[in-house]
Symmetry: C2
Subunit: 401 residues, 2 copies
């Protein structure tokens, strides 16, 4: 088998953990597999480098930041290669340039355009373990670029795709994907398998095991992902196109998202085109709108409520206030004291009663639902933030109790 493995910074934070990860890589190699291990920068390296940069320039250019930050992964891969050399194994470290990750020129958040596998193939043909720098690439000008948040996962998935790897293992601090956050929900169950779409919903809903970007990439190229622990040797969660569901499992997971605020535009005139103008204004300000609710107010006016990312709440209120003078409405209210709680499961909507079961759980727990949104594979509700953990536990008990 050809396996791409990815290890994050906290798994590489010191010499002891480096040796532990080297052990994982070595075991897979010795079992007879071809291994490409993609690494992030060790522990706090990136933060330390950013601190150094900001001492000299409050707002350095993204190009130079990429030159600086890419050294973090380069150091990590060299050190890991040395660790495997010490074990007597054939190994070679490669930078983003050397693994042929060609990106666009968007420094700091570059997108992968192409991966030239020639060098990778050459090294794998020699039966060498390849330790590849994640997070980084180069552009058509031969400048160094970095891929932004979740970049190392994206590198791993991209390499797995172009090399037609049998699987792409993402080693993390958690040992898989759970039906709910295991730190907060008692009896949370680890899933053996989950579909790409379910994983995408869970990730976007605040269960940050994998970044959406790498799951989307994996889905597009049919790369089988496996999320597992870099600390304990046990099976993790596979992310793939179609999953065999355990019969009684009606949903795959429950997620809580605190990165949300509710904006209410109160007393909007009941005229055509008003909603369009509100949401067009949001789009122009590059603010993502999620759940939307239009309700009929008294005396011929309406209320339009919707959710936005927490950081965008003030900005949203400001641009709406300007719009208010043009279209006329009563006032705008911003509620940052909310959470979005969601259940996720492929084919949920074809099974009847799933949403009702969720609402029942919330009703039993005396939790008021402010807004509801549904899709093919999820049902989300907006509730008061202080009740969110209680809500997740109540829903979990209802479905898995």
């Amino acid at each position: 088998m050809l396996i791409v493995q990815k290890f994050g910074g906290s798994s590489l934070a010191n010499a002891e953990r480096m040796r532990h990860v080297a052990g994982i890589i070595a075991d897979a190699y010795i079992e007879g597999h071809d291994i490409v291990a993609v690494l992030s920068a060790q522990g706090d390296t990136t933060d330390d480098l950013l601190k150094k940069a900001h001492e000299l320039n409050k707002k350095p250019s993204r190009r130079e930041l990429d030159v600086l930050l890419s050294t973090g992964e380069q150091q990590a891969v060299a050190l890991m290669a040395m660790t495997l050399e010490e074990m007597g194994l054939p190994v070679v470290s490669l930078t983003g340039r050397q693994i042929g990750v060609l990106t666009n020129t968007s420094y700091g958040m570059a997108r992968i355009m192409r991966v030239d596998t020639q060098r990778l193939r050459l090294e794998l043909d020699k039966r060498r373990i390849v330790i590849a720098a994640g997070f980084q690439g180069y552009d058509r000008n031969e400048d160094i670029t970095t891929l932004g948040r979740g970049g190392s996962d994206a590198t791993a998935v991209a390499l797995a795709a172009v090399l037609h790897a049998d699987k792409c293992q993402i080693y993390t601090d958690v040992d898989g994907v759970y039906t709910a956050d295991p730190n907060r929900v008692t009896n949370a169950i680890k899933l053996n398998e989950i579909t790409y779409d379910e994983m995408l919903e869970l990730a976007s809903l605040g269960a940050q095991v994998l970044m959406n970007r790498s799951v989307e990439l994996a889905k597009r190229y049919g790369v089988i992902l496996e999320v597992l622990s870099s600390r304990e040797r046990k099976s993790g969660t596979k992310v793939k196109e179609v999953c065999r569901k355990v019969e009684e499992m009606k949903i795959s997971g429950i997620a809580k998202d605190n990165d949300v605020a509710r904006i209410a535009v109160v007393g909007v005139p009941d005229e055509p085109g008003i909603a369009f103008r509100v949401f067009n204004t949001m789009a122009r300000s590059k603010i993502n709108v999620d759940i939307i609710l239009q309700s009929y107010g008294k005396d011929g006016t309406n209320d339009i409520s919707f959710t936005v990312p927490l950081d965008d709440a003030e900005n949203a209120a400001e641009v709406l206030a300007e719009l208010g003078e043009a279209i006329g409405f009563d006032h705008i209210s911003v509620d940052k004291n909310v959470s979005k709680v969601s259940i996720v499961g492929a084919g949920m909507m074809t099974a009847s009663g799933i949403a009702a079961l969720m609402f029942e759980a919330l009703y039993d727990a005396k939790i008021n639902i402010q807004m509801i949104s549904t899709s093919e594979i999820k049902v989300s509700v907006l509730i008061e933030r202080s009740l969110a953990d209680l809500a997740v536990q109540a829903i979990h008990n209802k479905f898995f109790g």
Copy 2:
């Protein structure tokens, strides 16, 4: 003018020094010059990285060491570029790969084969300050290489050569080349100019302002070097082919070298071919022999004395002991308690009495001369190490007092 500037690690050790160096670069740019600044890794970066490596592998491969160590210069150039950005200047940092330094594949001590100036020219044509990573290159396999000791100086001289720069400024902790070590000899005089050959002799004799390698490279390509201080703004010493000498300056400098040991092979039979076998043995063991003295002992045997680098002394004695069984001699003595003191000056041998003046100074100071060696531009004597500083001062007084 096109000026290549080179700054060593201690000149870049912290944010304050980085800003100071940025000021030197900025001033030259603002005066209207095209600037390529070559940097080493900051302060202790290289040592820190080596420590990390040795935690994981006592003897890592040179290839992986180069991948690791080259991040030091990459960080330095990015941070310097950011510092100049903060001053509002147009600047770009480039790695060894990007400045096109193609080397052979001798990791850790690679030699520059070719420099592809395309990218450099492109950036200079845009009137950008180029901050280039010293010490590093890439080989024909696209692997990262480093140039070994004095590598950043070599990078600077090579860039100055291929770009036909008007001069190559080497910024260091000292403000030029002196007639003797200014920390030890009172009244040491800073030279305005010195020839490549004189500089080569001084460097090889332990006055380590510049590594021989970069001086040789500069001589070969006619690159005018200038050694100056990165701390104080004042003129330094120019190193070039021909120098105007101040009339009364009979020599250019006095150097002391403690990295030397004296080996004496005592009681060698007075037969042809013995000296050849002794020195052939040294050559095969890759031990450089410097001063040689053959003296006639009593009862038809000879003594052969010569100097070797201090670190090679034990090895030299060992391989000679093996040889001893074959050719027969009385014994070998190793004296590590010696120093080589030399006077250096172009055309010295055509001026009469220079060597005599040196010997007179030593005689006056009651210092015994163990061995003597002369060349076109230098006279060296071997003396007891504890008297070396005294000897240098005495000679300096004689010539410059």
